[in-house]
Amino acid sequence: MTTVVAFNIAREPAAAQVLAHGGLTWTARKLPPAEDDHAALSVSVALAGDGELIGVTLGQGDPSWALARGASQVVRISDVMVGDDDAATAAALAAAVRQVVDANLVVIGDSEHHPGIAPVLAAHLGWPLVLGVSGAATRGESVEITRHRGAIDETISIALPAVIAVVAEAEESQPPGMKTMLAARKRPVQEVAAAALGLSASPPLDPVRTRLPEVTTARLMGGDARQAAAELVKALRAEGVL
């Protein structure tokens, strides 16, 4: 049975360039790795165990990034680019996953900037999904995951085949050394065209226009200490950080 890790498929703020009057462009080259990608890689390596780990990415992904971190092979759909429609991104990933023989587990970073990709991917595959995962271990035909929801830690068991979306708790602690990264670049990559997978070649979704937001400073809570505190608590609950 094969584990698949989807990586380098999220357009995150680090890759964005905001222009003076609210224009937005994205880096023309390969996307930088998303914040959660390294955590997804290390979880997928741990879950793959002695089995194969295949990486899957799209047009702006850097295959060598995953090859340097434990993927034995990478499949890249070279002519599908990431846009703002998470459903389109996920549909392409699902098509790539279906190319992998004997895949029974997909691990992906649970990007807070693209929270829709993992859910759509799981639905395409028809596999159960667990999100926001911080740790995972195999337990026979299931995987046991841990995650934090507010002040609660949950342990959840999910039967395979499944999709697991991982959040990173910190930055990557030990990126691979330069020698490993350079060697990874020399390894072959399986490049696939969208047409070969039955995917449409439509361009990625981009906005028709962008503008700068009205408020850029802090939202200040008014009233006396008690009122302000109550308002703040409400706002923080809505943000999902309490």
Binding site: T27, P32, P176, M178, K179
Partner: protein
Amino acid sequence: MTTQFDAEYDIIIVGAGASGLSAAVEAVKNGNSVAVLEKLDSVGGRGQFVEGSTAFESDEQKKRGIEVTRAQGFKALMDESQWRANADVVSAFVHNAAHTIRKLSDIGAVWEDVTIYAYEQESELKTMHWAEGEGARIIELMEKAARDGGAEIYLNTAAVKLLTEGGRVVGLEAKDADGQVLQLGAKAVILAGGGYASSPEMMEKHSWYGKNARYLVDLGTPGNTGDGLNMAVAVGGATAETGSVLLMPVAKDKTITSHVSGAGSQPYLWVNTSGRRFTDEVVAMNFSDAANVIAQGDQGTSFTIFDDATKKHLETAGSDIGLGTFIPYHAQLNKMDAELEQDLVTGTAAKADTIEELAKAIGVPAEALAATVARYNELAAAGSDDDFYKPAKYLRSIEQAPFYAVRMVAGTLVSVGGIKVNGNLQVIADGTTDAIPGLYAVGAEASGIYGDTYPLTVPGNISGFSYTSGWLAADHAASQIAAEPALTR
């Protein structure tokens, strides 16, 4: 061709600080393939601590109606170095610094103001371009622009030695984060390691403080161990004017944001380990000169003496000097008591009801300190400093118990100078006037701007030189690479 390279680049840059990242941004803009090797686990080096940059005739100066000509800049730098600076290098810097400001604006830098650094230094030129978010923001913007442009930045990766063939540099050997050794080919190597201030041995050997260098406290990041200097010398590079270091006074074992340190930095009575006054303390207004004075003294230390009335003055009216963003002019130093709880125990400060007891607490001869304070109070009463000519307003008497002493030392910010370069930032071969093909040194690694000391008259000059020399070297390297016929391997 005998060397098997793990990878080959047009340009390899050693060090991802202010000068290295500036070189990287320019190099990718020029279409070169670029690798940046950074020894530490994050980028920025000492470039994270600067507050802005220097320039002459910049857009930012012009739009604020500030006139500082390139000619004035050139003259100031040459004069301040006692003409030991290299006019080619100074000229290249002064001519191009304004372009640096614009290049940084283009990648998102915002310049909040252009002023002098201290608030009352007539001799300072208005060249300090204050960056929003300080040097750290500039580093952030440069790193992004470099990466977006395709530069590969490798952390925890150290350059070990340069590789040469027939007198030209063809690459270098490096050690990566896993300890693996790599041979990397390059058409040009730019040494941007930020000097040697992290190495006590090199500080003692190269800086003009000599043996007193051991008393300096390094305030910067740990990677500046003179790797560029050592690698360049190993392949026959020349050194020049290695002695200048940028220092800053700081209270022993405190940071520059400390209020006790701020009090110790004031232009009040300073005494040495013999209990004697030794300078015109108005030098406090120029932190570089002030630290030079402290660094020369016995054990590289001095004590700032003041009484309770002056302490209250500092707590209410505030600081009599400005130290950039760290201690703004008139900042109320009202956390002294809270800090003294610890500082009196650790020996950073002392407090006593008599001068004799104070002398004992700080370990200076009691009679000498008493005589010094008596003489100082005479000068204060007379309103005239006949010993060291300090402006009368800083002659604050020392009469009201309790009395305080703050132990001051000199903190190192960065060494400035080492490798001899020409006006293109190319490294010169020792004993010749020729450049070593394929080798550049920039920023604090490179000599040519300074004599034996760091001039605050042109504030922001080391950061300005770092950014400017970085991209100038990248441009020159690009032109050389374009001009050469393709080498066959």
